[in-house]
């Protein structure tokens, strides 16, 4: 006859013979730590709780025990399903790796009529046609695009100012569509443009083919024009006019904008955000400068340090949070991408936050001259004379030679965050990126010494800042959960 278990079996006040699953911890502030499991799910814990859990002393009736169990930090006699669930979540996070490469960037020309001192790409005067992509180069590049196994392919046109070689954009779109009639990929196009030379024929072509547009908007007119000089000193006016016309032609949400932070931006995060709100954008990407191209030559990159950028970032983030708390839905895109990694089992396609790194397998660049680069930053580095991340040339190399060559595989393997010093024991590793190009550019090797890396400093600060805000206010957490599911 079946009997109930002895009453002692229901006493869970004592430590309970649980088994830890893999987890890591990193300080959040002076009092607390962040603990993460293999899938990047997190809990904020005190130092005492960290040591109690690790030493097997946590009683089963403790609320923390329940939290740790529900997030697959432990298994006990009641259930061991966490191992299978964790494996499923890790697999979900890594699944996009099999679908390399999704983003294919075509540099249609290096010509540009702007002369932005922070430009990360060396530019050529707008009358030098030798810096334009040819049809033969485009055809070879498209061979590589459609050799990619990715079911979704996005072709992005960049420059210079990409629209200065509009005939090449038309050619590539037509040829890609022709090939896709048999390839049957989910094919999309984006034109990155400053909009200054946008004409009606271009808009009609973009509308006909469902092409999205992405532009630069650095903030209010005086700041934008100071950051982005052009003949006529009217870059802001041109951008605003272009945004309005493009929205009318393509649809409101098919026109995006990106800002870059210069020293002149640092005291004005609210004004920059207000400009995006005035123009009815749903969010903003508060971006730091990158250490490449003209940003180095003109010393724009060295004009401010990480601490100043982080102050700028968090003042802007808090302003955006306040807007949301007041009922105005508006997102900060970098935070949203990090939050997606923190709060969902999904990955972001943002190359900087990928590990294995997104170079080559997340995005790849076909330069105007046929050189294939591992990322946009890689070609910026090459413009400075460092061709470490040049993977080959569309005229000389096939898909296998480019994707399996040492120029790509070495930095991918060496920089994998899960196995490098500093990252392998960091609780934030599931949310972070490997960034071999940045570390090569700033420290001379693919891995970099993380405690000296401004990439690491910046991301650690952002991760801590986001968690602190979520832990302090359930309303902020609710807003962040919404952001995580938008991007």
């Amino acid at each position: 006859m079946a009997k109930f278990r002895d009453v002692a079996a229901f006493d869970d006040s004592a430590s309970s013979g649980y088994t830890m699953l893999p987890w890591r911890f990193t300080s959040l502030d002076d009092e607390r730590y962040v603990a993460t499991n293999m899938a990047g799910e997190y809990l904020a814990m005190s130092r005492e709780e960290i040591f109690d859990f690790a030493s097997g002393r946590l009683p089963a009736n403790d609320d923390l025990y329940t939290d740790l169990k529900s997030r697959h930090f432990l298994i006990d006699a009641d259930t061991d399903v966490a191992v299978d669930l964790l494996a499923l979540k890790v697999r979900t996070k890594l699944a996009p790796l099999a679908n390399f490469t999704g983003l294919h960037i075509f540099v249609t020309t290096l010509r540009c009529e702007h002369s932005c001192p922070y430009c990360q790409v060396s530019r050529a005067n707008d009358d030098k046609r030798e810096f334009d992509m040819t049809e033969e180069t485009a055809m070879r590049a498209l061979d590589l695009v459609f050799a990619s196994p990715s079911p979704a392919i996005k072709i992005e046109f960049q420059g210079g100012e990409s629209l200065l070689n509009m005939p090449m954009i038309r050619f590539i779109v037509a040829e890609a569509l022709r090939r896709n009639a048999t390839a049957q990929r989910n094919l999309a196009f984006v034109i990155a443009t400053n909009l200054a030379v946008l004409d009606e024929e271009t808009l009609a072509f973009a509308r006909e083919h469902g092409i999205l547009m992405s532009t630069s908007l650095d903030g209010p007119a005086d700041l934008h024009n100071r950051n982005r000089p052009r003949p006529g000193k009217n870059s802001h006016e041109k951008a605003i006019d272009g945004i309005k016309r493009a929205r009318t032609a393509l649809g409101h949400y098919n026109v995006g904008a990106l800002m870059t932070t210069t020293a002149a931006s640092l005291s004005r995060p609210r004004e920059i955000i207000d400009e995006y709100i005035r123009l009815d954008f749903g969010g903003i990407f508060l971006r730091p400068l990158s250490p490449y191209g003209f940003a180095i030559k003109t010393k724009t990159y060295a004009a401010y340090d990480q601490r100043k950028w982080l102050n700028f970032y968090f003042e802007g983030l808090d302003y955006i949070i306040d807007l949301n708390l007041a009922g105005h839905e508006f997102i900060e895109h970098y935070a949203a991408m990090v939050l997606k990694k923190m709060l969902t089992p999904l990955q972001t396609s943002y190359v900087d936050l990928m590990s294995p790194a997104g170079i080559g397998i997340g995005a790849i660049v076909y330069n105007y001259d046929g050189t294939v680069y591992a990322s946009d930053e890689s070609r910026m580095l090459a413009e400075m004379g460092d061709t470490t991340f040049a993977l080959g040339n569309v005229h000389d190399n096939n898909f296998a030679e480019i994707m399996l060559g040492e120029a790509l595989l070495n930095p991918l393997e060496q920089s994998f965050a899960g196995s490098v010093p500093g990252c392998s024991w960091c609780a934030f590793e599931p949310w972070c990126g490997a960034e071999p190009v940045f570390h090569h550019a700033t420290q001379g090797d693919f891995v970099g010494k993380k405690p000296l890396s401004s990439f690491c400093t910046r991301n650690m600060s952002v991760f801590r800042g986001l968690i602190s805000r979520m832990e302090a206010d359930p309303e902020v957490r609710r807003i962040f959960e919404r952001w995580a599911n938008i991007v």
Partner: protein, 102 residues
């Protein structure tokens, strides 16, 4: 007993209590603040902390370093105790992906 020489600090850690791996990891993690030289005596791991730059907080150097060694020691212990599960989870996650031949 720890000693202070100029701005440098010497921290003694019992070899019976801490692994050299934990000391190396702590030295790495704090390299932005301190240059750490490591030596070994019969009973101790002898760590000499020098400022890495003018802003290095030498007043809290010993506490920072000891705390980091303790944390790293615990991390190593967790890694060792959960290694089999880590391998199992990764094995399950990568099974039947179609990424490998055979």
């Amino acid at each position: 007993m720890d000693s202070v020489t100029g701005r440098a600090r010497t921290v003694l850690l019992s070899r019976a209590a801490f692994s050299m791996e934990a000391v190396k990891r702590a030295s790495y993690s704090l390299m932005a603040q301190y240059d750490v030289s490591v030596a070994v005596s019969d009973d101790d791991i002898v760590c000499t902390l020098s400022p890495a730059n003018k802003a290095s907080p030498m007043d809290t150097a010993e506490r920072d370093f000891r705390r980091e060694v303790v944390d790293q020691d615990l991390r190593i212990s967790i890694e060792q105790r959960t290694e089999a599960y880590r391998d199992t989870i990764l094995g399950l996650a990568f099974s039947r992906t179609g990424l490998q031949d055979g």
